[in-house]
Symmetry: C2
């Protein structure tokens, strides 16, 4: 039995989860895997702080070099999050030949090249299963089980907070701010919910997933990103009427070498497997040219689910089964398609008078957009809602049509535009 | 770039799929994985037979030793199926130090000990991702991504043929034999459908899955196995009325060290994620003590999905990242629980006369079984259907109650007993 010394950078929620798992399953892991994992040092900000998990005080340190320069420590697990100082710590660990296991989606999405390069140069491993969808082993599946496939597209519910909020809105008729408040009370959303509700978190993860799936470096800044703050109960309700469920999807497609990547609220058919992914659960749906449609479903966050992924990566790192992306050599930069084709749901408020529908339909026609369905409801007021769902159309045509529609004096407001995927 | 010589044993549907994938993605696999895979020999029964895939005639052979004794061939992929002669070929390959990649669930389920022992003795690898759920990488996920978990239970839709038939029955109101006929026309079911519709195929796979999940050898003959041939449209319809969907589930639970394993038609709540697994799709739902609920969904059969798993295993075998079960040492024999607790749906035909319901309910009460719901429908005939759903009860109590109910003169027939899982 080999004894492996590891160090933790950070000791918050995920760190506690990993600690608990390694304590609880110490014997089973040793039996099954032939490794005895020992946490030698844990980097914390304040050694004297009271913590939910009891540890031997002597393994805590506030000096990162106690871990990064310790030759006995062969694996460093990072749960600090954020760009800095995590990046510099991870680079130092890798340069010193220590394998890195991280849950840090931001540092991978932004600095993958540097980290991969440092890892391959020193022969250390870089592991990041926990950075995307917590306990769901989708990274390993893409890297080591779907190698025979050209992956054509990914659609993921990869942010649990927004899926929780949209589930509450859709099932309990709660409005956005009430649902957000509940998510915050349950600890699903941060006091400042921007990273989740504006789609930043999902964009980090999509950059990682799409880079892996397409074997092309997909850059964060090329991802279209729209959050869910403009979603209203009206949209959800009209969507239901049209047979759709609303989800914040992370979408990536590789169309004959051109990549499109976007994070935005999306209508999907109610019988789509992603439709039944409720509450804070995550799922990644993908299509490979050999394997066909496939979905991975589970807990995307939480101390133990994420901890499960971290411990799994630690065990793979023990076996030194490292994989490198080799950006620039094996993994080239993506070429992007910004004018994708999809279907669109458009909700307007218009003056309730004859001829308006025809006029507006005319703008769509002019830009080559054909209409699949219309909901027009007159309530006897002076204004009325008007909802269109288009057939497949290009993003640019839609935006041009909308710009003209906005100027029409009969149009009070363009209330929402939501993309539709099938 | 390393050149790897492989041999095929068998060249039917799956073999053709693997051949096509290795042809089509030769360059991408070489680029990404640094291996050039070459099919040196293919064992076939009749070299002169016309085949759907064009191959160089010189690589075909009808002598297995051309592969098993060729020192250049380091990996043998087997798609013959069945117990013999596959077992002897695989043992010979492993004894000769060749890694084995197989889609043969029967040979793994029945002879895993021998194969694992031969592999670990010679340092070769034994790979069988394709033996369970075709393209879904559930074997690798259990072995290499969920090591940190004590897996508590598995529920799987792991036979596409029966799921197709039950979907047709449930959605299109077709009876069993019409749905089976359609499955046969589409090639989803064999001319002799016994292995699928009687649950043998699912039992092989459940033996493999549960052995992996629980790290205990779960023997085929200890699996309760009931097929779907007794399922009627009435059962499906009453189930719907009660909020259930009907699936052929493979279920395994580890209750404090005791294992229960069963394959049988099962009612599950309509909002359970497995409920939306339609047509010939497969899915494995499992619960780990750290990771929580998780589901893997995809194509469970077909030349390219299964071929995708085979090629992935071949690539892992190239890297020599072998894993051994070490039965008897690391993996002990399971201890079984034959008297599990679950809920039951029981459909009777009774004489339509006063007092019958009370009498029958009495038998359940006598055996400690409490009733959750009853559907009693009088149509003004002399007989009437009577449906019970119980609360959790032990299998033995239910069987005892049923035996007594059967003897009551008011009971015309006990039409079905279907277990209910939530």
């Amino acid at each position: 039995m080999q004894k492996i010394q590891i160090g933790f950078l950070g000791f918050g929620n995920i760190g506690n989860g990993v600690y608990k798992i390694l304590q609880k399953h110490r014997n089973e892991i040793a039996d099954k895997e032939d490794y005895q994992i020992n946490i030698k040092k844990i980097l914390v900000r304040d050694i004297n702080k009271k913590r939910p998990v009891e540890t031997d005080r002597s393994i805590l340190t506030d000096n990162p070099d106690d871990i990064l320069n310790d030759p006995e420590i062969s694996i460093v697990a990072e749960f600090m999050g954020g760009e800095n100082p995590a990046l510099s710590y991870l680079l130092k660990a890798l340069n010193n030949g220590k394998s890195v296991v991280t849950a840090n989606k931001e540092v991978i999405a932004r600095h993958w090249e540097k980290l991969d390069q440092a890892a391959s140069a020193s022969g250390a491993g870089l592991y990041y299963e926990a950075s995307v969808c917590g306990g769901i082993p989708v990274i390993k599946a893409i890297q080591e089980s779907l190698q025979a496939n050209r992956i054509e597209r990914i659609m993921g519910i990869i942010n649990g907070t927004t899926n929780y909020i949209l589930t509450k809105m859709s099932e309990n008729n709660e409005n956005f701010s009430d649902a957000l408040k509940k998510a915050q009370e349950l600890g699903y959303a941060e006091p400042d919910p921007t990273a989740d509700v504006e789609g930043f978190d999902a964009a980090f993860k999509l950059s990682i997933l799409s880079t892996l799936c397409f074997h092309k470096r997909v850059h964060l800044e090329r991802i279209l990103r729209e959050g869910i703050t403009n979603i209203t109960l009206e949209d959800i309700s009209y969507g239901k009427e049209l047979g759709y469920a609303l989800k914040l999807l992370a979408i990536a497609k590789d169309n004959e070498g051109k990549v499109e990547v976007r994070v935005h609220p999306t209508f999907i058919p109610q019988n789509h497997p992603l439709s039944s992914v409720r509450s804070s659960f995550n799922a990644v749906y993908l299509k490979g040219d050999c394997v066909g449609d496939m979905m991975f479903y589970g807990r995307g966050a939480g101390d133990l689910p994420t901890g499960s992924a971290i411990v799994s990566d630690i065990l793979t790192a023990c076996k030194k089964e490292h994989r490198y992306m080799k950006f620039g050599e094996k993994t080239i930069n993506a070429v992007y398609n910004d004018d994708w084709q999809t279907k669109y749901y458009i909700r307007l408020t218009v003056k309730d008078q004859p001829g308006v529908l025809g006029e507006i339909a005319g703008y769509f026609g002019k830009h080559g957009v054909s209409i699949a369905s219309v909901i027009q409801k007159g309530y006897g007021n002076t204004t009325a809602p008007l909802i269109f769902v288009t057939h497949e159309a290009s993003e640019k045509s839609i935006q041009q049509a909308i710009a003209e529609i906005r100027k029409n004096p009969c149009v009070i407001s363009v209330d929402n535009l939501i993309r539709v995927e099938e």
